[in-house]
């Protein structure tokens, strides 16, 4: 039976940037879609800076993270990890650990590890009884005991006999002909719930897998090599970025409670569904018997999907011990084994005409994600600026280091560091203002390109861009400069997102989603969107999240929660409100369509005498319970690409950032004085929370640009700075003045028109700072981080 398209109707919706120009366009929308929302200025709750609903819990210490979950009879776990970088495991002797007082279970990993690349030919490693060790600190086993102290002591008693193999820890060493092989043959790594991974079936020579030639983005286009040789101007440069670790303040944490008929998992996660699904899959359980709960997740940034190897261990231990098991990584383990942003070595060639139009983009990149694939450098080359001739070859290089994981705009941060600097160089060589150049070439037909035009204008004005001087204008040791860079990200939707809204007889209104909150404010935006339909305040709506028993919600990744969840929530709320109106109508002797909800009251439009408080209306309507569920509909114009679990909108999201820095040319010290970030996110549901997200992205971008660097000891493969005093993230004194401006852009794609913002926010910052470096000193710095050592090298070049 062929699928039938649901019935549709035509709807006139606003399209454009509020405050710039708004057109009315028609869309074909599902028949039961709510009416379009006006611009935020006309709304009561949406678009307002409502206080985060869980703020009080967070400031009083009452918010319970997985880190805080304590169940009766709970055991404490500790992993046993490898003390070599590359080895076959000959034996694992757990006998002393098993009899240590307080120990209740021991488990040794004996299956292919999650998050690692896998051999295409599984038989190549099949003789091994235990997984091959491929990085120092790789998990081998775990202990569950009655106290953390006992688990830690017992873990030290596990004896592992290794047959050491040669290892390679750096990108350059691993790329060499004849380098020690991390994997004995070609590998695959499908992407996971969080993205990451690499395209299937690519060739692999030694440790180098690829090239990914960008087929997913329609590459190659035209003939880039020919276009480069024929170009009037060629900008050709090599860029180097570093490995970055996620450093969520709450480490990876899980409490696994295996019972005879159910498995309950408390998880610090970005995607409750992924934890359930992976647990069900790995332990061959029906999903109906697996429940995942996540009230608060203390940061994820891409690393917290699925159950991970530590989760495999925790669940096995719980099953064996018949008790809940708490497994929390310590800060060293967190740095080493739970994910990182790969490094990159990029060779980027741009060809352009004399007036700046791009005729060619050629990119070759290598990067290492350790024992995992996923070191691509994004898609900005393919999608951001119109260009007829584009080719790319992106390679993964395996090294004996911890596996990479998706990290806030995976690949794009690295790629835009290169692209936006090469464009800055192009502008300089042509004697064009960098903004003028972008005005000429950032002319795609998408909403993000339109938004960036406004963002450039607004940003330039707010920042004082006209005060920018020629490069190297200061004669003293400290040189000041300004730079700008642009960002682009895709609008990702989670198609299965659904939301239930429920009205109960006492006037309670609740909304339910399995989605989690990693700090972006899921509860609050959900409540706002539902409250708007009922004329209530956000704090009047019970927003229930973080439980896989609730309707399936989106991952907190890919900047997709708000864009996926709010239309489903609105639609469910709208239907519930319409049903309430229909049941109230007879009592008010009116048409259901004339019943409206406003300022906490309900009544007939134009008949003030009929108005009553919301609670009373629910009672008067004789409601015991009204419940509606709605699924996220397709974007009104359809998607650019869609699969059951993942869709990409026709229009992206973006931003433009401006940085002013001081460079101390004697000490190599770089200080960011101020930053202006102008971003779009469709319709901002809560500008206060959106601003916080943008601060967060900018600060992560600044931190990546200036301070963060993983140091591995080459001889042992040990991650030396697996702590937070020597792995340096931005602290309070690193924070400059940051000014944020948010556009309200209506795309006419969904019943809320909300899009995400998290990833565009951290994509452009490093490039803006590097461009400011050129303006300050007249020298390009194409290497991250901008540590004093790297800065002094760049200045001497």
């Amino acid at each position: 039976m062929s699928a039938q398209k649901p019935p549709t109707k035509t709807q006139t919706v606003s399209y454009g940037i509020v405050g710039q120009s708004i057109d009315q366009v028609t869309r074909s929308v599902p028949e039961n879609e709510p009416p379009p929302l006006p611009a935020n200025a006309s709304l009561k709750v949406i678009g307002k800076p409502v206080d985060r609903l869980d703020a009080v819990q967070k400031v009083t210490g009452k918010a319970r993270f997985t880190f805080d979950v304590q169940l009766p009879g709970m055991l404490y776990a500790r992993r046993v990890v490898s003390r070599v970088a590359h080895a076959r495991v000959i034996s694992v002797d757990t006998s002393e650990a098993e009899t240590y007082p307080g120990v209740r279970a021991v488990h040794v990993l004996n299956q292919p590890l999650l998050q690692h690349a896998r051999l295409r030919d599984e038989k190549a490693d099949a003789a091994a009884r235990y997984p091959t060790i491929r990085y120092f600190g790789q998990p081998v086993a775990a202990i569950a005991a009655e106290s953390q102290r006992a688990a830690d002591a017992a873990a030290r008693l596990v004896k592992i006999v290794y047959e050491a193999l040669p290892h390679a820890t750096t990108l350059e060493a691993a790329m060499q002909e004849g380098a020690p092989l991390v994997f004995p043959g070609p590998t695959e790594q499908p992407s996971t719930a969080g993205g990451g991974g690499a395209p299937p079936g690519l060739p692999q020579r030694g440790n180098v897998r690829g090239p990914d030639t960008g087929q997913m983005f329609g590459l190659p286009r035209g003939d880039a090599a020919a276009a480069v040789s024929g170009a009037e101007i060629v900008v050709d440069a090599e860029y180097r970025t570093q490995v970055q670790t996620h450093v969520p303040m709450e480490p990876h944490a899980m409490v696994a409670d295996w019972r005879e008929d159910s498995l309950t998992i408390y998880a610090s996660t970005q995607f409750t569904t992924s934890v359930r699904d992976e647990a069900a899959d790995m332990f061959e359980l029906p999903k109906s018997r697996v429940r995942v709960i996540s009230d608060f997740t203390g940061g994820g940034f891409g690393a917290k999907y699925g159950i991970g190897n530590f989760g495999l261990l925790a669940i096995n231990l719980s099953r064996k011990a018949g008790a809940p098991v708490r497994m929390v990584l310590d800060r060293r383990e967190e740095h080493v084994s739970s994910g990182n942003r790969p490094d990159s070595l990029q060779h980027l060639t741009l060809g352009a005409t004399g007036d700046g139009r791009l005729t060619a983009i050629q990119l070759e990149s290598h990067g290492t994600g350790g024992v995992a694939a996923g070191a691509g450098v994004g898609f900005a080359h393919a999608l951001m600026y119109p260009c007829a001739n584009v080719s790319q070859q992106q390679y993964d290089v395996f090294t004996n280091a911890g596996p990479c994981a998706a990290f806030r705009a995976p690949g794009q941060v690295q790629g835009i560091f290169a692209l936006e600097q090469s464009l800055d160089e192009l502008a300089h060589r042509l004697g064009l203002d960098p903004i003028e150049l972008r005005d000429r070439i950032d002319t795609g037909p998408t909403d993000d390109a339109r938004a960036r035009k406004v963002e450039r204008q607004v940003g330039a004005e707010k920042f004082g861009w006209s005060g920018r001087r020629a490069p190297n204008a200061d004669s003293g040791a400290v040189k000041r400069g300004m730079g700008m860079a642009q960002s682009q990200w895709v609008s990702v939707i989670h198609p299965p997102t659904s939301c239930e809204v429920r009205i109960t007889d006492d006037g309670s209104v609740e909304a339910f989603t399995s989605a989690q909150d990693v700090g972006t404010g899921t509860r609050t935006v959900l409540a706002q969107v539902v409250a708007e339909e009922f004329g209530l305040r956000a704090e009047d709506v019970g927003a229930h999240i973080g439980d896989t028993r609730y309707p399936s919600g989106p991952p907190s990744g890919g900047s997709r929660v708000t864009g996926s969840l709010t239309p489903a929530a609105r639609n469910a709320a709208y239907r519930a409100a319409r049903e309430l109106a229909a049941r109230l109508a007879p009592a008010l002797e009116a048409n259901a369509d004339d019943i409206v909800f406003e300022s906490g009251r309900v009544g007939v439009r134009g008949a003030p005498a009929t108005w009553m408080p919301f609670k009373d209306a629910v009672k008067k309507a004789g409601v015991t319970e009204i419940s509606h569920r709605a699924v996220r509909q397709d974007d009104y114009e359809g998607y650019m690409m869609s699969m059951p679990q993942f869709a990409v909108g026709r229009h992206g999201i973006g931003g433009v950032q401006f940085a002013e820095i001081d460079v101390d040319t004697e000490t190599g010290s770089v200080k960011v004085r101020r930053l202006v970030a102008v971003h779009d996110c469709g319709r901002p549901i809560n500008p206060k929370l959106t601003e916080s997200q943008i601060y967060g992205g900018v600060i992560q971008g600044l931190s990546y640009a200036l301070y963060e660097e993983r140091h591995l000891d080459p001889a042992s493969g040990i991650h030396l700075n697996a702590n937070v005093d020597q792995y340096k993230i931005a602290g309070s004194r690193e924070i400059p003045e940051i000014e944020v401006h948010i556009l309200e852009q209506l795309g006419g794609q969904s019943s809320t028109d909300a899009r995400g913002v998290a990833e565009p926010a951290n994509v452009a910052t490093a490039a803006a700072i590097a461009n400011a470096f050129f303006n300050a000193t007249g020298k390009r710095i194409r290497r991250l981080p901008l540590t004093p050592a790297n800065v002094l090298d760049a200045l001497r070049a």
């Binding site: 009452k62 940061g299 310590d330 601060y695 702590n723 937070v724 005093d725 924070i735």
Partner: protein, 177 residues
């Protein structure tokens, strides 16, 4: 001390430790290797205090000892005897939030919330000690705190707002005398 004037040897096993927490004397089991953070969280169920790095490098575990900020992960439980310990749970006065807590809520000075209790403790200590604090003073007071979500700008705003409010209510109280 024993009869010969020798000090008693405590540990290595656990024993009862009496601590003054949020104004009350409480007893918990601890051995000499137990940190204050551990005894608060696992011995007393006060999970508001978080452990982000367990090395005194992120300040998520900040509590007050005699009103001064301390890294509870780097304080041994036995070293906290006889000192007034204030945790995040003890900052509000019942349902009445501390001015800094209210300001954090209003200025959205949190995102994931894991670093928040520690931040609040440091900012509240600053505002109590120096209501005339400047932005530099705030940055110095939280210079040991790490926040990966990037709440710093709003932490600064919230703390300065709470300090301003303190100054105003102090001035009001003064003028009423």
């Amino acid at each position: 001390m024993d009869q010969q004037g020798n000090s008693t040897i405590l540990g290595p096993g656990a024993g009862i430790v009496t601590l003054l927490v949020n104004g009350r004397a409480v007893r918990a089991m601890a051995d000499p290797g137990t940190t204050l953070a551990e005894v608060l969280r696992y011995g007393l169920g006060l999970t508001g205090t978080k452990i982000g790095c367990d090395r005194g490098a992120c300040s998520a575990c900040t509590v007050w000892l005699d009103g001064e900020v301390a890294a509870s992960c780097m304080t041994l439980a036995l070293d906290a005897r006889g000192r007034q310990i204030t945790t995040i749970e003890g900052l509000a006065d019942g349902a009445a939030l501390h001015a800094v807590q209210r300001a954090f809520v209003e200025h959205d000075a949190m995102q994931c919330g894991f670093c928040t209790p520690g931040m609040v403790m440091s900012c509240a200590a600053l505002v109590e000690r120096n209501p005339a604090c400047t932005l530099d003073d705030v940055k110095a007071a939280v210079s040991g705190h790490l926040c990966r979500c990037g709440t710093y700008p709003n932490v600064f705003k919230a703390t300065l707002a709470a300090a301003a409010q303190r100054r105003t209510s102090a001035a009001d109280a003064e003028s009423r005398r």
